[in-house]
């Protein structure tokens, strides 16, 4: 069944999860939609939901493939991803410099990203347990 022996913090999942978000969500989003033309106000709404979906999917993948419940990794991925998104906004020129979220807003984003990632992890884990149960019944 799902292994209990896992390191407290498996940095490999952090690297894979974070890079997957960059490669499979942030970069395609940039290529498709152009972050510079993405309205600033959208960051507080629909655009945020879009980013959150990606985080949840990556969380689901991690949950379904890793041992235990990698919540620390999820939190780290959420922090890094949020910093990257904001970093690109901050460092990318005149138009985006207008978007400087306040600290409570940043914390809210962080909480949201982490929650979505954690939910993804749990769902992925449940899916894996069910898959393993099914496989063990078959054997």
């Amino acid at each position: 069944m799902v292994g209990d022996q896992r390191p407290v913090f498996d940095w490999r999942w952090l690297v894979v999860g974070y890079c997957a978000l960059i490669l499979f969500q942030l970069f395609p989003s940039y290529a498709l939609f152009g972050m510079r033309r993405t309205p600033v106000s959208a960051m507080t709404g629909i655009y945020l939901i879009w980013m959150g979906i990606g985080v949840a999917i990556v969380g689901g993948y991690i949950g379904s493939r890793s041992k235990g419940y990698p919540m620390l990794e999820s939190l780290s991925i959420a922090v890094l991803y949020m910093l990257t998104v904001f970093g690109i906004y901050r460092g990318s020129g005149k138009a985006l410099l207008r978007f400087v979220p306040s600290l409570p807003l940043k914390l809210m984003y962080l909480l949201l990203f982490f929650s979505l990632c954690a939910v993804g992890v749990v769902i992925g884990k449940i899916a894996r347990i069910r898959r393993e149960k099914k496989a063990s019944l078959q054997t």
Partner: protein
Amino acid sequence: MNLKTEPEAISGQNEPKSFTNTFLVQISVLAQLAVLVMIFAERLGLSTYRRSLTNEPFLLTWIGAINSISWLDEPGLLPLSNRIIIFSSMLLSFIVFPTVFLFGWRSRRLDRAHGVAAPLRSLGMGSIAYVFSMIATMFMVITIGPVTVFQQARYVSSCENNNARLLRYNVQHEIDVLTASAFQYRILPKAEGGGGGSYLGYGIPDTLARTDVAEYTAQVSADTVSYVAESAFCETDRMTVKLDPNGKTPVWLMQGNWGSG
């Protein structure tokens, strides 16, 4: 990547596979490159992907349409069914297919390296999904360059043909609103959140900084504000306006189609 030489850990059938160091390095390098591309593209002001053909951010338009927000009332936008189709195809071709293909490819390489009989190699749903994703991904990789060039050419073409004069009037009107807000800021005392006789501290409100017709930036000094408006449709259409200490705008510099219209 030669996975056969890597210390892969597949400790049991139910144990999750661990990632090799080579894989981690490669995916990290790719992610770093992606971030650098995004930053440099923004820094250099590359416009290739900057605006969609409908001049709206794609995602917001599609999701807005799905949610039946005011986008449906906007004239000139595509029908809802078309938007859903286009949005779905983009999600599939840019995100879903490459993801399925890359992870399927990796899984096959690992299975082959360890001599594990890969269930994917049988003609099942997984195999079909893998092959289909591979074809779609390859197709996208090969065609993205020409499509981008074509799209850019089309964008430039529409840039030359759009109704520049009408846009210019709209932009002029919006700049009037901006200058009024700046002057109002200047004449307000500092205690009431104004500039107390100076423009210093003034910034374009977020809601006005980027509209349907243009993007606005402002350079602020104590007695003047220089606005630059850049058309949302055509990057070469620019307008520079200087606001003087009396709230007047004696200098209007038009460039591109706006200068000749």
